[in-house]
């Protein structure tokens, strides 16, 4: 299929529909509103449902009910809206329902700003809801990758019976890039949804969608079962990109928009003969800890670059296991780091500065 020029938020919507998602429950919030707008225009044409809920809280609970019917369903929001959805996300994870949640991050805390940020790393990878649950979280670095991952996300959600989050930012949502909707994306063998609440039709015992286990022993068993599922994700779902790592003296760790900026900085530094590489996690949960742990001997420093005051840096430190100094440079509040900021920080580190 030929390439089309699309805005990130709209491309997500088109990708979801291509993945067979016909149901969307949302609430307007900048900078992701083009996605619900796109869905409101396109879903009725494919016999689907677009519904603007009274709140993010209601929207995610509509997703809970809708996902319980076994059909593919999606919601999206941006940072403060995702914070409101956290209750429902925990219930969805607890009841083991598949769905895809898009978070187009803006600056925080609180009402924050409407400009791009990566300060939702913690609430996306650690969860803001209660209990021991995990989401599979994709952090694409281009609109094309976002389009591919949105489609893959629906398969993974169905396979694991787990919510999957696609973590973008205001930049990824708002910018336009050429994208291709591929016919050859890997397809998974998916289990039958015999747990769905669709009415018994007199053919089976009632199904119950639920996250309540009043007996402590039962809840513990439920959590152990969930953990096994998360362990399987850790085993099979880690995705990342390495760029110019082999002989690098310093490796930059960055994801999404900042990884693109960091890549420009790497190219600029390499031209000047400075040995720098880039490690870009594509899944931020499960995190590619082993990549950080097993960086080549040549690597003396790690520099984490984020559009936050430093959140992913905790995961870099976990993977690093104290082997090398981990440095940080970032901008926050909607400010975007320039390649030069990264170049200057790399030079400072390699020239013996802190």
């Amino acid at each position: 299929m030929s390439k089309v020029l699309m805005k990130g938020n709209e491309a997500i919507g088109a990708a979801a529909i291509a993945a067979g998602c016909k149901y969307f429950f949302g609430y307007p919030i900048t900078p992701q509103s083009e996605l619900p707008e796109y869905m409101s225009a396109h879903l009725p044409r494919v016999g689907g449902v677009y519904l603007q809920a009274e709140s993010e809280v209601a929207a995610i609970n509509m997703v809970y009910g809708a996902a319980g019917t076994g059909k593919r369903v999606m919601t999206s929001s941006s940072s403060p809206g995702i914070a409101l959805k956290q209750e429902g996300i925990s219930y969805i994870a607890g009841a083991e329902l598949p769905c895809v949640i898009v978070n187009i991050v803006r600056g925080g805390p609180g009402l924050g700003s409407i400009q791009p940020a990566q300060s939702d790393y913690n609430q996306s990878t650690r969860g803001g809801g209660d209990g021991d649950y995990r989401l599979l979280v994709y952090a694409p670095g281009s609109i094309q990758e976002m389009v591919d991952l949105v489609q893959i996300a629906f398969d993974k959600a169905d396979y694991y019976r787990n919510p999957v989050m696609v973590l973008g930012d205001g930049m990824m949502g708002q910018m336009m890039e050429p994208v291709e909707f591929k016919d050859d994306l890997p397809k998974m063998e998916l289990p039958e949804k015999d747990w769905a609440t669709t009415g018994t039709k007199g053919q089976r015992k009632p199904n119950v969608i639920n996250s309540l286990y009043l007996a402590a022993e039962e809840l513990e068993q439920h959590n152990i079962r969930l953990q096994k599922k998360y362990d399987e994700m850790k085993q099979n779902e880690v995705r990342y990109e390495e760029y110019q790592i082999e002989d690098a003296e310093l490796v930059i760790a960055a994801y999404g928009t900042t990884a693109r900026i960091a890549k420009a900085a790497v190219d600029q530094l390499r031209e000047a003969g400075i040995k720098v590489g880039l490690f870009r996690p594509i899944t931020v949960w499960p995190y590619p800890y082993d990549v950080v742990k097993n960086l080549p001997e040549s690597v003396k420093h790690i520099l984490c670059v984020e559009m936050s005051m430093g959140q992913m840096i905790d995961d870099v430190r976990i993977g690093n296991e104290g082997q090398r100094p981990v440095h940080f440079v970032g901008r926050s509040g909607g400010m975007i780091p320039t390649p030069q900021l990264v170049v200057d920080k790399v030079n400072e580190i390699l020239n013996g500065g802190k």
């Binding site: 009910g65 018994t200 009632p206």
Partner: protein, 250 residues
């Protein structure tokens, strides 16, 4: 031997956890009977709340979804929008519906979601141990209004049916009680009417059922019924507040 009366197929054989004298059991049975009589049990999907009836998913003999506190109408919306041919209902208490879930119930009514809500009002939070609810009567002592509910600091008891009757999308709104055999029959009739309107695609219906909580009211079951008649039924008058024909004529 001829069977003249038997348990409805609308309920499972599970023994309920409700306290002696609580009228949740009667209300469950009415809903189960209506689903059975309308022949829609196999198409029904119920949404259980948080509160005393949290375990309703064990008692109704149909597919069930257990919602977060107050969110049952949103969950039901998600189900019904995807499965418009199925019969979808929520079963909620007054803490769930009249307090934490006011946004969800008002907007489900406002959109005229084609669902049926059973709203059990016993003027107290039962499951958590008898705290004050927005529906608690003035002067009523609860564990969080130990000196009696005071309107000056907590407002007047909220009248959900009267409020929802103002919402254009609400097709059917009726308040009933299950304190006497006559009222039980009227309650069943109202529940049936709301489900029939759903089957006809006429939109949102709610039946507010005044109920007792002998345990947390500190009364025996008989005195609890009397207290309901002398207090709840005075402040919360029974009757229909909105019906389909009236909506049509408006």
């Amino acid at each position: 031997m001829a069977v003249v009366f038997q348990k409805t197929r609308g309920l499972t054989d599970v023994e309920t956890h409700y306290c002696p004298g609580c009228t949740h059991g009667i209300i469950h049975r009415l809903v189960g009977e209506v689903l059975e009589e309308l022949g829609v049990l196999d198409e029904a999907i119920g949404v259980a709340p948080v509160g005393c009836s949290v375990l309703a998913y064990n008692y109704f003999n149909c597919d069930m979804s257990e919602a977060a506190h107050g969110r049952a109408p949103a969950v039901a919306t998600g189900i019904k929008r995807l499965l418009p041919e199925n019969v979808v209902f929520t079963y909620q208490g007054d803490g769930d519906l009249a307090s934490i879930g006011t946004a969800e119930i008002v907007h489900a009514a406002h959109r005229s979601e084609n669902i049926t809500t059973i709203f059990v009002n016993n003027a107290i939070y039962g499951m958590t141990g008898g705290q004050m609810a927005p529906t608690t009567m003035i002067g009523q002592r609860t564990t969080t209004s130990p000196y009696g509910r005071d309107a000056a600091t907590t407002g007047m008891p909220i009248k959900i049916s009267e409020m929802l009757a103002q919402v254009p999308g609400a097709t059917f709104v009726e308040r009933v009680a299950v304190n006497t055999p006559g009222n039980v029959r009227k309650a069943k009739k109202a529940i049936k009417r709301a489900f029939e309107l759903q089957l006809a695609g006429k939109g949102f219906g709610i039946i507010e059922v005044l109920s007792t909580c002998p345990t947390n009211w500190g009364l025996d079951p008989v005195k609890a019924l009397r207290w309901l008649e002398d207090n709840l039924m005075v402040y919360y008058p029974l009757g229909n507040f909105r019906d389909y024909q009236e909506v049509e004529n408006a």
